[in-house]
């Protein structure tokens, strides 16, 4: 009940934040822009709409997770609301989990809104509801959960600007780390290869959640890949949340 109360307060705080609506507005414009882009393209117009639409949802979802996620815990500390909150009979992990769930709930609602607009836009072209798009969006959601946990981790000990930079770096590295795999294959055995292999295992691989191309082009995806990506997302998020908790539980609120 306590975690739920904190989660709903976080949701309330987030949905009363103007930044969220600004991002949502731009996301919807981008989704709508895909229609314009499709008109200018030769070939399968619907595929362009799907491609640009899904990318917009993923990108703006990540921006929402980073900007709101890094701000909310810091705001509690900066504005000292955390003093009265933690003096109540709650454990610190309940506070952090409540914050995390509140943010995840906010992102879920935002993704839902964007998905409805996106599916409606496709419907106007194909006159069918393309439910399989939701699979790609579901994995975007899993990715956003992980980004939120990272944003939360950084905001436990850092300012919003630094946390945003760190989390954004995590996002960018996460989407480019797959390049290391190619590098490992091409590099000669030795220190360089060991280093690249070490980095590849250490750095996050957010491409695990990217099923956009496969879904848009209706390519087959084996269930084992889905399972791997789900487990990767869940365990990575739990790992980051545990780290955040370890830092948060011993932190002094001066």
């Amino acid at each position: 009940m306590k975690i739920r109360a904190i989660a709903f307060n976080t949701l309330k705080e987030a949905i009363r934040d103007r930044i969220l609506y600004l991002l949502l507005f731009f996301a919807l414009i981008c989704i709508a822009f895909s229609r314009l882009l499709a008109l200018l393209t030769i070939g399968d117009r619907v595929k362009i709409i799907k491609d640009v639409g899904l990318t917009s949802i993923s990108l703006f979802g990540a921006l929402m997770a980073i900007l709101i996620g890094t701000g909310l815990v810091y705001k509690e500390i900066d504005k000292k609301t955390i003093y009265t909150l933690l003096s109540k009979p709650i454990q610190r992990y309940q506070f952090l989990l409540g914050k995390f769930l509140g943010l995840v709930l906010t992102l879920f609602i935002m993704l839902l809104l964007m998905s409805i607009i996106f599916l409606a836009l496709i419907f106007f072209h194909t006159f069918t509801v393309e439910w399989q798009m939701l699979i790609a969006i579901l994995y975007v959601f899993l990715e956003l959960c992980l980004i939120t946990s990272v944003a939360l981790l950084f905001s436990c000990f850092s300012t919003p600007i630094l946390s945003s930079i760190f989390t954004l770096s995590f996002y960018l590295i996460g989407h480019t780390a797959w390049g290391l795999e190619t590098l490992i294959k091409k590099i000669k055995p030795g220190f360089g290869k060991v280093l690249a292999q070490g980095l590849y295992h250490f750095l996050p691989d957010l491409e695990n959640f990217n099923f956009k191309t496969e879904i848009v082009h209706s390519l087959p995806i084996p269930p084992s890949i889905y399972l791997y990506s789900t487990l990767y997302g869940v365990f990575y998020t739990l790992f980051v949340l545990t780290l955040a908790l370890l830092i948060f539980r011993k932190r002094d609120f001066i």
Partner: protein, 305 residues
């Protein structure tokens, strides 16, 4: 008498600045607060008052020392459930209305839904905010924030209420109202731990006090034991006597024309001044014997330290 707060040998330092230089904030604080009393925690700015309170609430972890609330560890949830806290310069979620805010906090105390509404209504009435229940906290004045802060501190009907500078920044009327609420809390059997540097208020309502300077408690005890009842001097507001005639009897503080304020240190001199005024057919407008105040004690001790 049972102890509401028991602190033994509390030490805390903070690493400050770029070089993370360690600064000792609390240097072996020991305190005992009895159940049912109003305990004043006095000290100049930066003495360690708020740090002590944060240690009690588990917001800061001391390096050394023991803190117990009602005989239990201060970090235990049952101890926290019996405690209410109002921070200095309270700031709350400004996107919430007073009603929403108290509802949120009452959920943290696991107060049942059917009890919640009634309790919140009563509390808003107690702190005089019943008219502002639907107003967002961002529209609250400082005094109103202090009141809603007090309301959230009392949501769980706590046995112990910790108030950090509750009277700071309030107008005289607001101060009186908060003071009255604190006294009422004591009458209801609650323990109040009050940190302040507004000494008149502490003197008016506290049973016992502790004075902290530079992270050390330099004196603590019942107010009547700390402050001597000996008359320090007498202030006489008189007229009809020449200033020259009063020389040697006291110190002339102010005056215009025939009227003046005389500060007399010896009791026999007070008699002499009265006789002189009578003989010159003058007038005594007021005669006030001044005993030691908490302020005198406090200023003396801080200077000494």
């Amino acid at each position: 008498m049972a102890l509401a707060i028991n602190i033994e040998n509390l030490h805390k330092s903070f690493s400050l600045g770029f070089m993370l230089k360690k600064k000792k904030i609390l240097k072996g604080i020991s305190l005992e607060v009895n159940e049912g009393e109003i305990f004043g925690y006095l000290g100049p700015n930066g003495a360690g008052k708020t740090t002590t309170i944060k240690c009690i609430l588990g917001l800061i972890f001391p390096e050394q020392g023991k803190i117990e609330l009602f005989g239990q560890s201060h970090l235990s949830l049952p101890a926290k459930a019996r405690t209410g806290f109002l921070p200095e310069n309270p700031y709350f979620y400004d996107h919430l209305t007073a009603n929403e805010f108290l509802t949120f906090y009452s959920q943290l105390f696991s107060i049942k839904k059917n009890e919640r509404e009634e309790k919140i209504k009563d509390l808003l009435q107690t702190v005089g905010l019943q008219q502002s229940a639907g107003l967002q906290l961002r529209k609250f004045s400082r005094g109103m924030l202090q009141r809603i802060g007090l309301a959230q501190a009392l949501l769980n009907e706590p046995s112990l209420v910790l108030l950090d500078e509750p009277l700071g920044g309030l107008d005289p009327l607001g101060r009186k109202e908060i003071r009255d609420i604190i006294v009422r809390l004591k009458e209801e059997g609650k323990t109040v731990f009050l940190s302040s540097h507004i000494l008149q208020d502490i003197e008016m309502i506290c049973d016992r006090v502790a004075i902290i300077v530079n992270g050390e408690i330099i004196n603590q005890g019942a107010l009547q034991d700390l402050i001597s009842e000996k008359i320090l001097f007498t202030e006489i507001d008189l007229s009809g006597v020449e200033e020259k005639e009063l020389e040697g009897l006291g110190e002339f503080l102010s005056g215009h024309g025939e009227r003046g304020l005389l500060k007399v240190f010896k009791e026999e001199n007070v008699e002499k001044v009265l006789e002189l005024v009578q003989s010159r057919k003058g007038k005594i407008h007021s005669l006030i014997p001044r005993t030691e105040t908490l302020e005198d004690l406090f200023v003396g001790m801080v200077k000494q330290k």
